[in-house]
Amino acid sequence: TPDDRIFAPPRVRRMARDEGIDLSQLRGSGPGGRITAADVQAAAGTAPSGTAQAAAGADEGAAAETTADATEGAPAADSSSGTETAAGSSGQTATATQTQPPTQVD
């Protein structure tokens, strides 16, 4: 894969700009090596504090489980890409919210 092409969603790319992280220097932990928000936070040393992370992780886990349950009675998946993505990017809750400039305009 050519080095100059980054596989990361828009939200993650913006986060990297905000943190001054060069995405081409990161190895992604997402599916196929895709860079996730958590990867950026780890690189920036801005991963949420223990408490925040634990809390976020717990919330997220619960949420992911409920998601699977709520989908038409399909049992929770062993290898759901959707669940994995949601869970994989869990640790980022606090930082993402902080780094996001207020966009709510009334």
């Binding site: 828009p10 939200r11 913006r14 998601t67 038409e72 959707g82 993505t85 709510q104 305009v105």
Partner: protein, 499 residues
């Protein structure tokens, strides 16, 4: 006694060649399994022959005429004539092309095709009968079976599909002339789709629905534009009634359908008291039945799984109270090597759900780590305008414990919608509040059926509102409305005011 019984074997037996079964068979073939597909009627099943495809063909064709007839404000003056038998034979050609394609694809993927009706004799064999009770039947041994026998239209008492003026959806899609008037029993998606088609063909349509609303299960805001359009088309609704019986009119001019109020029996039994309190005026009146004169009556009150003609007991396969075969996340029934997919395996009874399950069953048999693990199952009602939903509603999300944020975008603010003359409706996105994960979406309006695809992908991938909002969408398109709804949820839509 069985005459001329021959026993052969197959690794994978698929029963039923609808979108669940033929997809399972093709996928099994691709995975180099030895697979046999048995079908008693027509390749493509309900969907291709009597359901999805025929209905969408007639919907689209009548819309072409309807749109031209109603384009005066665009400077177009047209009075199209519709020859229904011509339209139906075009539809039949489309069906033939597709079912022929399915047959070819099965063969090309190495699927053995057999015609006949399969019934289980035990948990590793079926009997395939070619005409009726065992005459020319054969026995087939299997390692794995995939049951994909689909569903059939429910009949209601006194309305037999064998009687000429009584139609099920299949029959309604093959008429060779336009009925002057039609009573549609049931305002579910099939009833509503067909009611619109006939109204556009010029039929006087009256819809009877037991409940007090059309399209039960869909949110009110989604239904409003559809109800409005139905009213504009002159479709009459009688909510809270069930069809009781019908008779030929004496003057031979058609039929009379009698419909009873849903609470009628109860109210009568209780004496007038309870009803009287609510509706003082009616205190001394029997709740009135309706009498509707029409040329035909279409019964579209739902479909039930075809699980009763298979002798599932002989194989030990369990069904639930509604007759659906019980399956797990790998499409397996109570018998480990027997799978069930599609309508017979439960709600939602939709073709794409069946196809997905069919693929999973084939892959699981081949030893792949597949599972039924979708996050988002889209559903579309091809009414005018279309309704499409995917993933969670706000209520679902709240019930699942999410704090949610919602964004909407009305099509009347969409440049592309205005240029098509179709700008009723909206896109609505439901997302998780903290990170903005997209959880669900609903759309009513032009091309809703196509627009929902992007949102399905967003949900499956765990995309956030920002991801959708930051993706450049072509101008001018309806898909910009998806982006705008995401922006609205983020509080910075460009083309609507944000909350």
């Amino acid at each position: 006694m069985v005459v001329g019984d021959v026993t052969t074997g197959t690794d994978v037996l698929v029963i039923g060649a609808g979108p669940a079964g033929y997809v399972a068979a093709i996928r099994a073939g691709q995975l180099d399994l030895d697979v046999t597909l048995v079908e008693k009627d027509a390749y493509g099943g309900t969907c291709l022959n009597y359901g999805c495809i025929p209905s969408k063909a007639l919907i689209t064709a009548t819309d072409i005429a309807h749109d031209a007839r109603n384009a005066e404000q665009m400077g177009i003056h047209a009075d199209p004539a519709i020859d229904l038998s011509g339209m139906v034979s075009w539809k039949d050609d489309v069906v033939d092309q597709l079912t022929g394609g399915v047959e070819k694809l099965c063969k090309a993927n190495g699927v053995n095709l057999m015609e006949g009706t399969a019934t289980f004799t035990d948990e590793t064999t079926v009997r395939i009968s070619h005409d009726g009770d065992g005459q020319g039947s054969e026995t087939l041994e299997f390692e794995h079976a995939i049951v994909a026998t689909g569903s059939s239209p429910i009949e209601i008492p006194n309305f037999s599909y064998g009687d000429e003026p009584v139609l099920n959806s299949r029959q309604a899609l093959s008429l060779d002339s336009v009925p002057d008037s039609l009573v549609v029993v049931g305002a579910g998606y099939i009833g509503m789709e067909l009611a619109s088609v006939f109204a556009k063909l010029g039929t006087d349509v009256t819809v009877i629905e037991m409940l007090d609303e059309m399209l039960p299960g869909y949110a009110d805001d989604l239904k409003r534009p559809v109800k409005q359009r139905a009213d504009d088309l002159g479709i009459e609704f009688e909510f809270g009634y069930t069809a009781a019986e019908w008779s030929e009119r004496e003057d031979g001019s058609g039929i009379r359908v009698v419909a009873d109020p849903v609470d009628g029996a109860d109210v009568a039994a209780d004496g007038g008291a309870a009803a009287g309190e609510a509706e003082a005026e009616d205190e001394n009146e029997e709740p009135a039945s309706l009498e509707l004169d029409a040329e035909k009556v279409l019964v579209a009150v739902g479909r039930r799984p075809v699980s009763d003609t298979l002798d599932l007991d002989a194989a030990g396969v369990d069904i639930d109270d509604n007759g659906f075969i019980e399956t797990d996340s790998r499409a397996r029934t109570s018998v480990d090597h027997i799978y069930a997919v599609g309508d017979v395996a439960g709600e939602p009874m939709l073709a794409h759900k069946g196809s997905m399950e069919g693929q999973v069953a084939a892959e699981v048999i081949a030893g792949e780590p597949s599972a039924i693990d979708y996050q988002a199952m889209p559903a579309v009602v091809f009414t005018d305008p279309e309704i499409a939903t995917v993933g969670m509603t706000e209520t679902d999300a709240a019930d699942a414990g999410f704090d949610t944020v919602v964004g909407t975008f009305p099509f009347r603010a969409s440049g592309r919608a205005l240029t098509t003359g179709e700008s009723d409706g909206f896109v609505k996105i439901v997302a998780e509040e903290d990170e903005g994960y997209v959880l669900g979406a609903s759309i009513v309006g032009p091309e809703a059926s196509e627009l929902v695809a992007e949102l399905g992908l967003a949900i499956e991938l765990g995309a956030t509102l920002e991801d959708v909002a930051s993706t450049v969408h072509t101008h001018p398109t309806l898909s910009e409305s998806v982006m705008e709804a995401a922006e609205n949820a983020l509080g910075h839509a460009i083309h609507t005011l944000n909350r």
